[in-house]
Each structure stands twice: as structure tokens, then as C-alpha cells.
Amino acid sequence: MKSPETVTLTINDQEVTVPSGTTILDAAKKLNIKIPTLCHLDLHNMKFVNQTSSCRVCMVEEEGWDKMLAACSTRCRNGMRIRTDTIKVIRTRRLMVELLLSNHPTDCLICSKNGNCDLQALAAEIGVTRIDYPGYRSHHEMDTSSFSLVRNMDKCVLCKRCETMCNDVQTVGALTDIGRGFDTVVGTLFGMPMHETTCTFCGQCVAVCPTAALTEVDNISQVWEALDSDKIVVVQTAPAVRVALGEVFGMEPGTNVTGKMVTALRRMGFDKVYDTNFAADVTVMEEAAELVDRINGEGRLPILTSCCPSWVKFIEHQFGDMLDIPSSAKSPHEIFGSLAKTYLADKIGAKPEDIVVVSVMPCVAKKYESKRPELGQGDYSDVDIVITTRELGRMLKDLGLDFANLPEEEFDELMGVASGAGDIFGSTGGVIEAALRTAYEWLTGKPLEKIDFHELRGLSGIKEATVEINGVKHKIACANGLGNAREVLRRIRSGEANYTAIEIMACPGGCIAGGGQPYHHGDDSIIRKRMEAIYESDRHKKIRQSHKNPQVIKLYEEFLGAPHSEKTKKLLHTKYVWRQKM
């Protein structure tokens, strides 16, 4: 039996025809009828749909039936007569939110999600002013075991967005419901603390959590303390931060605020304001050199990028037998940290221990990464403190800066200039494109005519391109999102795909959609706008290849020698650990 292609129904007496399979919620949107939701989240571009229909906020009436329907997950049928405007619907919706609030701390004024909380916004929107059904409130221990995430399950509304993200999209499987009935809580395997689980700290659970049940570890006070000390405090900002920070101050998504951000960081008191994009260029030098070495027979192919700490932890847990394929290059901000405490220290005549490196990242996994013991020299870490885009936004608000109207300044000399290749690191496909721009020229000795690799751009989960180098066709792939990464690794392991080089980013969309970015609240068009801003920045750069960045050339001439040499292997490369699967 073939189902008809469209169905016609009425919602509040207004007729609407929609493709079959459409939910009542989407049909109502077509009629400009708003049905409030809470657990529902549809990030189309990221292949994420949370349709657990567990919160029951979107319940609507079908005429003639007592039993109500969840608009978010019920598909339209021909001849349905739906009502969203009855007293019963309004009362039910309010009661659902009241019930959720009856088991939720009402400390909104001092909550880290204040102003950013979907539950708070919903309660305000539908006008909950009292709770008619108060009662026992559940209490769970906070999990502050990790360097990246804080789990405060007292604030969980069991929307299960985090579980859908962790299990279905990222295929990490760190989160699951435990307990039952009123005591149900999103927990970990055997209730283990987060740092002992297979969690990769990608932070996508934080990105979709509607409340403050999942938040990043707050490192703001450490930054203020460092700024208040006698030490030389150096800050670097990741490529994806500048295209999202403006959102915190109400600016249009996709606005590139590099200049204002630099000004703001100087006013905060940082001694040096540098660009992680510069370090990304150095990463390209190292990865491209490694790729050239591997193509020339040293080590095995494919080579996988290693800029994403979350992805690195994923392969360490899930594919521990394949740890010889990722590039050994450190991630850009770690490379920066390492250089800051050697190259920069030499230049300014300071001891490494007198320098504090602060990274502003779109990412919560970078917090954990900076604590990896092997990422440092001797007693000190390459990077001392990591804060997210959101945390930087909060600090700037603390200072009372009128961000949108700040003048624009340039990064400091020495490690503040980046090529377009460094800029695009923030988007999925950017790292591999940047590496190709350099590796191609090194391998062929010829200039690259077509600098843009459009096949590797965009939000598709797995992208592929073929590049001919010296008469040999090389297959290049790019995966964003750990679920897609798993698929690519499966293909490599089974031998069904023959790739030369692969970029993997843990977050769907890449760093622009990282777990530390301003909340998108379900509007994934924001991600696309950030992406466009990144490629826009690259397009306007004079120098668009890392090996042509004059500050990079100078660095190698004065300090490092050749890429992928003994010195860079010591300072800029790392090794991986085979971790348990559970």
C-alpha cells in the first residue's frame, strides 16, 4: 500500500496540506501557529533530531478524542482536526511546565544558564507564575570530575537531547538513563564519574542541553587571577571564536569580530594577544610534511588530522589498534603554547614558567586536552588555562565593554599573522584543505592553481575529493561528527576505502559548532553563517597558504629548522594512548 504524497488536515479550523510524514508541529509552523516545545530539537544540517517526545509540553487536542497528541512526533493524517487553542491544551502545557519546575531548583537568578535557559524562557513565555503541585524534589551529586564538563542532574529535565547526541549522532555512548520512575536520571555507565568514562568531551551534550544540567567547567577566575599576577599572560584565540563571539553581544550571527576581539583582550590586560590561526599554519607545515613523508613511504597511509582533542580521545578509546594513523602533530593551540614557552620566551627574555598561556577556544575538550600530561615540556604545560567563547563573552560583560562599538586592532607581531589556510581551520573541511594547499606544492614543486577545494566544504557528514599529485590520484576524505568518524574508520579498517588523507572533527560542522560556542538554541542556520564568515575571511587574504606566511617562514628559519624534523618532533608532536573501551 503506497501512502499518498500529501495529507490535508485542519489546525484551529485552518486547512493545511503538507507532505505525508510531516509532524503536526511542522504543519502548524506552516500556518504560523506556534506550539511551544522543550525536549524537541531538530538540527537538520547536523543530522540531529531529538524526537523522544518525553516532555509532553507540545500536547495538542484532536477533536473528538480525550487522549492528546504530541505535536512534535505525531504525523499528520488526512482529515485530522487538530486544536492548539483550547483551554485544555493551554492548561496541559502549563501543567507540564509546572510539573517540571516542581522538580527543578528555582535558583534562576544565580544559575549559570540564566538568560540562556530554554526552560526559563518557556516558563516565561507561557506565563507560569506559581506551582500548584509542589512536592519532593530529587537531588543528585554533582559530577565535577572532569576538566571539561560539569553535570548537575538536579537541573535535568530528561529531554534526552544529550543522549541522542552522545549515542546516536556521536556514537560515543557515554550517557544513558539510570534508575526509574521519579528517580530516573541521565547518568554514565555504572554511575562512573565523567573522567573515567569513554566521554570524549566534545561538549555537544552541553551545546544542546536546554538547562544548566550540563555546562562547561568554568575557568574564568583562573584567568582573572593570572591577569592580576606578575606573570606574562599571553592569550590566543581559535579561528572559530571570532565568527561567533559577536552573538554574545547581540550581533548578527556570522559577523567576524576579529579586530574588536583583539582590542577587548588588550583592554582585559593580556600582555600579548596572539592568533591560534598562526599556529594552525604551523600545524599545516608539520602535518603536510608528515603527509609528504608518508606518501614517500615513511609510515602508513591514510594520515588523519589530529587537531581535535575530542576526536583523538575517541580513536584512543574506540580504535586503539589504529593509533599509528593519526598525524603526530599537536593541535594548533598546543603548538602555540609550546612555541610561546620556547620561541617567544627566548625573544622576550622570559623563563617559560613566568609565562601563562590562555587559550580562547570554541571547545570544551581543549580544557581536558591542556591537562594531558604529555602536552608540555618538563614541569610546565604548553597551555595553562582554556576558556570557551562563552566564557570570554561573560568576562567581557564583566568588564562592561561596549563590544559592538569597540575600535579594531591587530594581533601582536611574531605570532599574530595567519594565512587564509589557518583561518579555515575553524570549519569542517578546513584543516584538510589547508594541508592540501601546502602539501600539493611541496610534492609537485608546482604552484597550486585552484586553491579552493569546494568538495571538502559544507555540512555533509562525510565528504570526499580526489586530487591528482604527480600523476597519482589521491583520495581525500573529511568527516565531521564522531558518528561519521566511526564510519570512516570502519571503512579504513575493513579496507573498503583507500584514502590518502582524512580530516576528522568531532563536532558536526567542525569547531564553528563546537561545544564551547554561544548557544544556538536549535537554530542551525547560525552554524552556516559562521562557516560563511570563515571562508569569507580566507577569500580576502592575500596569502592563503601556510608555507607562504612570512611569520611562519621566519619561525622555521630562526628557530625550528625544517618541518617534521628532530626539533619539531620534540616540541610540536605528541603520542597517543590506547584507552579502554568502557
Partner: protein, 525 residues
């Protein structure tokens, strides 16, 4: 192979008849043998026809009573699948697990869809407190369920069956395992059954004790290896069910009826019971009843007949107050509706349900508010925690009932209680939540005066709720002072040889005085 089965049948029947001939408690009947005790006189047993008669560990006994004959007939005569489905559809057999969905409709839907695999699941996750119909069938006649599943498998083209059985039923599990092994050994189950093209394997899956896993979609999640949470139903189970394949989920009792329907025909089946609910239903008659036990009667039998004629009325000659049917999701039927007939429609019409067949008898010593609280406590405990109304709403309902029982209820509570119960019923994700408030709603409807007495007059008419109890010292007090000495909060005063008095504000209602009084002069009210 078919002749083999026939010769087994003849051989085993002779031996079986010999054994029966010496038993005094059985007699020959239309469906084989029946038990003769007066408890069974008014019963008509189809699902339980072999219960207490055959030895469940011996496949020979089952074969003796035409066991596996229905399946063999289908295979030998190569009856078209659609005919089998049509027979079941025509019989109007309805699901005995609670909802009463027509079994034939499920089978027809599953037959319609082409798929590489199809599954039959036998729902044996019986979890209603005090209900043990399925357990009895599985323990006393496991083969009739296996045969029912195989027939269903043949009818819809399924190759695999699961019995999802509670781990708390170890005897049933053991006997099922033995029965499956016996049937496979004789070629009555497994690959190429009785030499035909039809293969059907059955495996057990043990439930880990979650009531919600009796809900179909949660059960499939559990069998697939995940946490047993109800799914958002986008497809019918018979279209895309277990592992995404067409799946039939039938209850134990439903499947236990299949064999007889196939042997004796849909017309015979429809001659029993009512027009819309043919056949019989097994009830677990428990509570304050004189003769408790499993009762199988034709649908449409008046409740009065079951309670009085079979059950013998209330224990100790007490007065009947209510009958609770349908387990924790059911409703309480007051004595005034005792003439209601037992079928899906009539029970639904008075706000209760058939459910899986739990039937709890209550007398005047039962407080209906407390009964509602008991069932709410059960569902709150068994909620999976997925959706808001069931997870938090039911908890709040329970808390309100607890407040009322403790004497802290307010008149406005009743209005709020009704509203939240109705909302939970209309908005919960699965049947568990949707039916959880039924015990409260039905008792509020039929025993409103008891609720009002609790919140307005602060008394419990049945003297059950401790928080509302008052201990009174009667005039027969001899003034011995024993109550005073035993009171832990020293709230009793009085001179020796004079009547003592209890300070009700200070009394904690522990009952120590009542127990201590040598002349029974202290009464709980």
C-alpha cells in the same frame, strides 16, 4: 511425520485415559477433561483447559489431548496463510493482555507486509500485583502457548518467536525451556516442522523486573538489548516492530486460545461469550474473597456470579465494598454495579478495564483512598521515567494521596487531584502512564464521600488511615493506668480507678494504649 503424530496421540491417549480414570477430581468433557470441584462448576475453561489435568513436564500428555494437532493440520493440508488469519479474524479473538485489540487484525497487518524476517513475541511479562493468569498457563500447560505461537508464525510467515517472560517466574521459565526442548526433539518446533517447509524457532527472553516492559514497544526495546523504554510509535508493530521487522505481540492467554479455535473453528468460539467479546476470560480472583483462585468464565458473565457463586462472597461473611479489576491501571467497581457483565465494553463503560484479569475483592474494612494510594505507589515505582506526566505527575498524585491519608488534605486538593489525574491520563506517552490514574479517578467517582470525609471531616470511615485515626477510651475503663504507663508520649491522664482521657492533639496514634488495655476499653475510630 503427520502419521507419526497421530500414532503418538493414540498411544499416549490410552495411557493418559488410564491415569485419568483413577483420578477422582476429573471428568471427561467437551475439550478433554475438566476438574470437578464445585469451584469449577460455573467455569468454562479454554485457556486453562489442561491446567491441573496434564503433567506440564510431559509433552506426551499434551499430545494425548490433541496437542500440536492444530498446527499439524495446517501443515499437512497446506492451508493458505490468509485462511488461518481469516479464521482468527472471524473468531473475533481479542487480546487478553488488557487492551482487547482484535488478534486477527494484528495478524492480517503482519501478513500484509513482505519482509525477510517476521517475529512473534509472546508477552509473558505479567506484572499486575496479585495477577497470575499467565504464570499458571505457562507453568501448567506450556505447550499450548508454544503451539499458539507456531500457528501465529505460520499464519503471518514468521520464522522466529520470543517469549518475554518475567525472571521472577523461575518455574515457568524452567518448564518452558523443557517444553521447547521436547517439541524441538520431536520435530514439532524448529527447522522444517514435521518435515514441512515451515521453520519456527522459539527462544526465551527474561525480563529484569520492570513492569513497563509489558508494554509492547518497551518490550521490543528490551529484547533488542536496550533499556526498556516505550517508543514513540511511528509505525504499527505489525509493520515495523522488533529489529524493524513485522512483529506480532500476543499475550500468553491469547495464544493459549489459538489451538482450540483452530481445532473447533471460529463459529464454536463465537458461540461462547458475548457478540463483541467472544470466548472466555481468566481472572485472578484475590483479596477478601472466600474462595480465591483462577477463574475462567465466558465473557459477559455478571460480576456478581464470579464474586458470589464462584468466589463465595467476602471472607468471614463481611460486606462487599468494591471490586477492583484490571490491575494497577484498572478501576474500582462499587457494589451497586455488581451486576455489570465482564466484557471489554461493559467494564470500560463504568470507568474500569478488563486489563489482564486481576480481580481484587474489597470489603468494608478497606479504605478506598488507601487502596488508590496503594496502586499509585505501584505505578510510581514502575514508571520508566521517560515522560513528564508519568514521571512527575504520578509522583505528585501519590504525594497528594499521602497527604490526604495523613490528615493533611484540604478541600481544594480534591479538585486539583482530579485535574492532574485527568491530565496524566490524557498526556502520558504509553499505556502505563495513561492508565495509572485510573484507580484514583474511579474511586473518586464512586467513593467521593470517602475522599470528602478524609479532607473535610478528617476521618477515615474504614478506620484504616492511621493519620486520621482517633483512640477513644470508653466508659468501660477500669482506671488501671496501664495505658498511661505504656503511652510513649504521655498523652493519657487520669486517676487510679477512674476513667482515663487521651489528649488527641498530643497523641501520635501508635496504638500502644489499645494493645495494653486489659479490658478492651480503648477503641480506634
Amino acid at each position: 511425520m503427520y502419521n507419526q503424530l497421530r500414532s503418538w496421540q493414540t498411544e499416549y491417549r490410552q495411557e493418559f485415559d488410564k491415569r485419568m480414570a483413577v483420578r477422582e477430581d476429573v471428568e471427561v468433557s467437551e475439550l478433554g477433561y475438566r476438574l470437578t470441584d464445585s469451584f469449577y462448576a460455573k467455569q468454562y475453561r479454554i485457556a486453562l483447559r489442561n491446567s491441573g489435568i496434564i503433567d506440564p513436564l510431559k509433552i506426551e500428555d499434551y499430545i494425548a489431548l490433541d496437542g500440536y494437532k492444530a498446527l499439524a493440520d495446517l501443515l499437512e493440508n497446506q492451508i493458505p496463510q490468509a485462511d488461518v488469519v481469516a479464521e482468527i479474524s472471524e473468531s473475533l479473538l481479542r487480546g487478553r493482555g488488557g487492551a482487547g485489540f482484535p488478534t486477527g487484525r494484528k495478524w492480517a497487518e503482519a501478513l500484509k507486509h513482505d519482509a525477510e524476517h517476521k517475529f512473534i513475541i509472546c508477552n509473558a511479562d505479567e506484572g499486575d500485583p496479585g495477577a497470575y493468569m499467565d504464570r499458571n498457563i505457562l507453568e501448567t500447560d506450556p505447550h499450548c502457548v508454544l503451539e499458539g505461537m507456531a500457528i501465529a508464525g505460520y499464519a503471518v510467515g514468521a520464522d522466529f518467536g520470543y517469549i518475554y517472560v518475567r525472571a521472577e517466574y523461575p518455574v515457568a521459565v524452567k518448564r518452558l525451556k523443557i517444553a521447547i526442548a521436547q517439541a524441538e526433539e520431536r520435530g514439532l518446533l524448529g527447522k522444517n516442522i514435521m518435515g514441512s517447509d515451515f521453520s519456527f524457532h522459539i527462544e526465551l527472553r527474561l525480563g529484569a523486573g520492570a513492569f513497563v516492559c509489558g508494554e509492547g514497544t518497551a518490550m521490543m526495546e528490551s529484547i533488542e538489548g536496550r533499556r526498556g523504554l516505550p517508543r514513540v510509535k511511528k509505525y504499527r508493530t505489525a509493520h515495523k516492530g522488533l529489529f524493524g521487522y513485522p512483529t506480532i505481540i500476543n499475550n500468553v492467554e491469547t495464544l493459549a486460545n489459538v489451538h482450540m479455535i483452530m481445532l473447533k473453528g471460529a463459529k464454536w468460539f463465537r458461540s461462547i461469550g458475548t457478540e463483541k467479546s467472544p470466548g472466555t476470560k481468566v481472572f485472578a480472583l484475590v483479596g477478601k474473597v472466600a474462595n480465591a483462585g483462577l477463574v475462567e468464565v465466558p465473557m459477559g458473565t455478571p460480576l456478581r456470579e464470579v464474586v458470589y457463586d464462584i468466589g463465595g462472597g467476602c471472607k468471614d461473611g463481611k460486606e462487599l465494598k468494591a471490586v477492583q479489576t484490571g490491575g494497577p491501571s484498572g478501576g474500582c467497581i462499587p457494589t451497586s454495579l455488581i451486576d455489570t457483565t465482564l466484557d471489554f465494553e461493559s467494564l470500560a463503560a463504568i470507568g474500569s478495564i478488563m486489563g489482564s484479569g486481576g480481580m481484587v475483592i474489597m470489603d468494608n474494612d478497606d479504605c478506598m483512598v488507601d487502596i488508590a494510594r496503594f496502586f499509585m505507589e505501584f505505578t510510581v515505582d514502575e514508571s520508566c521515567g521517560k515522560c513528564t506526566p508519568c514521571r512527575i505527575g504520578n509522583k505528585r498524585i501519590l504525594e497528594m494521596l499521602e497527604r490526604i491519608i495523613a490528615g493533611m488534605g484540604e478541600p481544594r486538593d480534591l479538585r486539583y487531584l482530579k485535574l492532574i489525574c485527568e491530565t496524566v491520563r490524557d498526556t502520558s506517552l504509553c499505556g502505563l502512564g495513561q492508565s495509572a490514574p485510573n484507580p484514583v479517578l474511579s474511586t473518586m467517582k464512586y467513593f467521593a464521600n470517602e475522599y470528602e470525609a478524609h479532607v473535610k471531616e478528617k476521618i477515615c470511615p474504614a478506620h484504616v488511615c492511621k493519620g486520621l485515626a482517633q483512640y477513644i477510651i470508653l466508659d468501660s475503663c477500669i482506671g488501671c493506668g496501664k495505658c498511661k504507663r505504656n503511652c510513649p508520649v504521655s498523652c493519657i491522664t487520669g486517676e487510679i480507678k477512674e476513667k482515663h482521657v487521651i489528649d488527641h492533639d498530643a497523641c501520635i496514634k501508635c496504638g500502644a494504649c489499645e494493645a495494653a488495655c486489659p479490658v478492651h476499653a480503648i477503641e480506634k475510630r
